[in-house]
């Protein structure tokens, strides 16, 4: 069984984003990691490989620096990787999907594709759908439980209010992973060393016959989300505090 896992190279969620100019950010001083949701996909793929045999291939569309992130994903147990190099962190989702598709077709289409439910940088929640549609595969996103049996998979996803849908699909398919699916492993030192020797096949968008010249979505401006400057503390006895809080929320803020 061949499994591809799409991994995005993203800033650590704890990193401070320093905006540069109108629509760029300083990426030289911050730590980049495997997109947290993609880690669930890597773990699930590696578990399936351990059970059924086969190989796990990481596929990344990103800057050259993404190689370090790919090594982290390979330390979790993936066998090799493909990196489609681009210049921008904000590549159009449609183009990313086309690049993933072309890279997978060149390498040989897999039996399963994992992605995260979304990326924590652009938060646009769509690349997996575009990839699946272009390959004619079913896609289920935000999957928190998965079982694979031969050519069928059963996925569970939350649909709001705690309700869960149970969906059956045929392989090959695309699964968007989320928290709950598994507990991603922490690679041990020998695994990290081994990952350094694993192969990363690098190519450019042009090598795949694609170009980034006409994006559908352009980031025109980045700005910090305004931070609150500190709470107005409500003092007094518990009775007094609660009475004042409810008054403020009803009369001043009008949110109750």
């Amino acid at each position: 069984m061949k499994i591809c896992v799409c991994v995005k190279h993203v800033p650590d969620t704890a990193a401070t984003i320093k905006i540069e100019g109108e629509n760029a950010f300083r990426d030289s001083e911050i730590k980049f990691v495997v997109n947290p949701y993609d880690e669930y996909g890597v773990e699930e793929a590696v578990k399936l490989k351990e059970k059924n045999g086969g190989e796990v291939v990481i596929v990344t569309v990103g800057k050259a620096e993404a190689a370090a992130t790919i090594r982290s994903a390979m330390a979790m147990g993936a066998d090799r990787a493909i990196l489609v190099k681009t210049d921008s962190q904000f590549l159009d989702a449609s183009l990313t999907a086309k690049a993933l598709k072309a890279a997978m077709e060149k390498d040989g289409l897999p039996d399963m594709i994992f992605t995260g439910k979304g990326s924590v940088d652009t938060e646009s929640f769509q690349t997996q759908y575009r990839l699946a549609h272009s390959l004619g595969m079913p896609v289920v996103n935000e999957v928190s439980t998965l079982s694979v049996d031969g050519k069928k998979a059963v996925a569970e996803l939350e649909v709001g209010g705690g309700d869960k849908q149970v969906i059956e699909i045929d392989l090959p398919c695309v699964i968007g992973a989320t928290k709950g699916l598994n507990e991603p492993r922490y690679p041990k030192f020998p695994d990290i060393m081994k990952a350094k020797k694993k192969k990363i096949d690098e190519m450019s968008l042009a090598d795949l016959g694609l170009d980034a010249s006409a994006p559908g979505v352009t980031v025109e401006k980045l700005e910090p989300v305004p931070e609150r400057t500190g709470a107005k503390m409500i003092e007094g006895s518990v009775e007094e505090q609660v009475t004042e809080l409810i008054r403020v929320l009803k009369e001043d803020e009008k949110v109750l």
């Binding site: 984003i17 629509n23 950010f25 947290p36 949701y37 449609s94 924590v120 940088d121 652009t122 646009s124 929640f125 769509q126 997996q128 759908y129 575009r130 549609h133 079913p138 289920v140 996103n141 935000e142 928190s144 569970e156 939350e158 649909v159 709001g160 209010g161 705690g162 309700d163 869960k164 849908q165 149970v166 969906i167 059956e168 699909i169 989320t178 928290k179 559908g216 979505v217 352009t218 980031v219 025109e220 980045l222 700005e223 910090p224 989300v225 931070e227 609150r228 500190g230 709470a231 503390m233 409500i234 518990v238 505090q241 609660v242 009475t243 809080l245 409810i246 803020e253 949110v255 109750l256």
Partner: protein
């Protein structure tokens, strides 16, 4: 006048408040309300009051299109053609995000997900980037502007229109790639977290799963939903479906009350666009007090019951 389609979400045969906010985002356009999962007659008054020129019940080969996300997406794509829509908007709910991503893939058009503001004519949108740390202003180059809006991001305003009901039987079929075997019911009477106007969240200080009953009692009084911090979920006090923040849900209610939540960056990633944030925490130095609107230093087991009584 250009026409904008709005995918209407309903609950128990009534329009969800969040869908009315999406209609307000399309003010100035001819609004076509697209209904998949309810009887349009029961929605007419509300949809007309909030600006629907037409209310269209979408069907496909006599089937309930809401039963399959791929069928719903194909029917919506057909509706874009039929009504010459220049924009198609919906709510960034679990189902809305899923269906819109499918529509965008079918149409091969750009999609802006989970916007907090948008301008249909200028084809611009504002949304969170980097886990709630920055806002990105995006320019979309597309024949049809596809976007989902964060629930509660735009307050609904009445703008009466004709609200004429019609049916559109789309000539599409379900590719039958997904078979929905069953829906496992959670605690069905609970208010859905991502769309709730008020949320009360319990953090690590809740100490035990059964103590969420205290928050639920308070929430029930004001129609609020109950959430949990990652620390509380990891400690086994609450299921992941209740988690707010990075790796959980992103919410944007009018009022967010954090009870015993320390206030990690990752928690703020999921709730910082809330209109008003209140924190109740025993530790006066808890980081959450530096980033919220109102704070009460106190034991949640003392404060919450009094709040429940007085609300």
């Amino acid at each position: 006048m250009a026409s904008t389609g709005i995918l209407i979400e309903t609950e128990n045969g009534a329009v969800k408040e969040t869908s009315l906010g999406v209609m307000t985002a399309a003010a100035g356009q001819e609004i076509i309300a697209l209904v998949t999962d309810a009887d349009p007659a029961g929605l007419k008054d509300k949809l007309a009051e909030y600006g629907a020129a037409k209310i269209v019940k979408l069907t496909a080969s006599g089937k309930d299109v809401s039963a399959s996300p791929d069928l719903a997406a194909r029917a919506l794509d057909a509706a874009v053609g039929k009504y010459s829509l220049t924009a198609l908007l919906g709510t960034a709910s679990t189902t809305g995000k899923d269906v819109f991503a499918r529509v965008a893939a079918i149409m091969d058009q750009p999609l802006v997900s989970d916007c907090v503001a948008l301008d249909i004519q200028a084809k611009t949108a504002k949304k969170s980037h980097f886990s709630g740390k920055t806002f990105a202003s995006l320019k979309v180059d597309a024949a049809v502007f596809l976007a989902t809006l964060r629930p509660n991001a735009i307050e609904a305003k009445a703008a009466p229109a004709a609200g004429e009901i019609e049916e559109f039987p789309a000539d599409v079929t379900d590719p039958e790639l997904l078979i929905i075997k069953e829906v496992k019911k959670g605690d069905s009477d609970k208010v859905d977290l991502t769309e709730a106007p008020v949320i009360i969240t319990g953090g690590r200080a809740i100490k035990a799963a059964e103590n969420y009953k205290m928050l639920e009692a308070c929430a029930a009084k004001i129609g609020a939903a109950v959430g949990a911090s990652r620390a509380a979920v990891d400690a086994g006090y609450a299921p992941h479906s209740m988690q707010v923040g990075q790796t959980g849900k992103t919410v944007s209610p009018k009022l967010y009350i954090a009870c015993g939540v320390s206030g990690a960056v990752q928690h703020f990633a999921g709730m910082k666009t809330s209109k008003v944030i209140v924190a109740i925490n025993e530790d006066k130095d808890a980081p959450i007090f530096a980033k919220c609107d109102y704070g009460i230093v106190g034991d949640i087991f003392d404060v919450v019951p009094v709040m429940t009584e007085k609300l």
